[in-house]
């Protein structure tokens, strides 16, 4: 199993996933850096992503859209705040309207991705931080994994009580 750990901290509003890949950090880094490689894995199943813009440097922005099975398009953006090849990457990401303009009503998520050599493999740790519980719940409504985990936690809590 490549995913070695998944953690969520409902108080700190963070979600962390740790995965290991059979390639050196410089190679794993490229799947984020190269938009043609990034779009081969970013979209959810049946929703392939297309990056129209990808400025992979501090202060740079990306604009992408995902296309659903019925042709519906969902737009999103990144803004990179730290790019330290091939070790650490930080960025904000959020949803955008049909013209690719950031949707300010939805809030953004801060992501921190680190790449660590473990033997001849790479351990990639991806942490997402939300700004508020409301935002988590908005994300949940949009089908975002991180929000979903919180809702699952609420359901578990309800069932356990």
């Amino acid at each position: 199993m490549t995913v070695i750990d998944v953690r969520r901290d409902e108080e700190a509003l963070t979600f962390t996933l740790v995965a290991e890949f059979d390639a050196p950090p410089a190679r794993v880094w490229q799947v984020w850096e190269d938009p043609r490689q990034l779009e081969r894995w970013w979209g959810p199943p049946m929703w392939p992503a297309t990056f129209d813009r990808h400025e992979f440097r501090p202060g740079g922005r990306s604009a992408y859209h995902m296309t659903g099975p019925d042709g519906t398009k969902s737009h999103g953006w990144f803004e990179f705040t730290l790019v330290e090849a091939p070790q650490r990457l930080e960025f904000d990401d959020g949803f955008a309207d049909q013209n690719g303009e950031p949707d300010t009503t939805m809030g953004s998520t801060h992501g921190v991705v680190t790449f660590e050599a473990v033997g001849d493999k790479t351990r990639m740790t991806m942490l997402s931080r939300f700004t508020s519980l409301d935002q988590l719940q908005q994300m949940a409504k949009m089908g975002m994994e991180e929000g979903i985990r919180l809702a699952v936690g609420q359901i578990d809590g309800v069932l356990a009580s």
Binding site: F21, V31, M46, W47, M142, A151, V158, L159
Partner: protein, 107 residues
């Protein structure tokens, strides 16, 4: 995006602390709307509204017993919602598999 209307309603219903509390109280034994209303510092009508949101999400059902309306939690609906959410929570695992594919093909 990847969530249907049903899941939207479940998320909306669970997004409120009072509604989660109502659900927790009625999940094993039913409680009347008036008994629930006594538990919260809000009007009977406000509690009734929360119950209606839970009902629309399929998380509770109401049963008339004499003059009272008794609210019951729908454990199966909750478990189904949980299963649906667990499916969706595979997004990042899907992404990791996608990265693996990219790495394998370009070796």
């Amino acid at each position: 995006m990847v969530v249907g209307d049903g899941a939207d309603r479940v998320f909306h219903a669970l997004a409120d602390g009072t509604r989660r509390d109502i659900l927790a109280r009625v999940i094993h034994d039913g409680l009347s709307v008036s008994a629930l209303a006594r538990l919260y510092p809000m009007s009977f009508a406000a509690v009734q509204k929360h119950v209606a949101v839970l009902e629309q999400a399929g998380l509770v059902t109401k049963e008339r017993r004499g003059r009272e309306q008794v609210v019951h939690g729908e454990v199966d609906a909750l478990r189904r919602a949980g299963a649906l959410l667990t499916d969706l929570e595979q997004l990042w695992r899907h992404r990791v598999r996608g990265i693996e594919d990219v790495l394998r093909r370009e070796q």
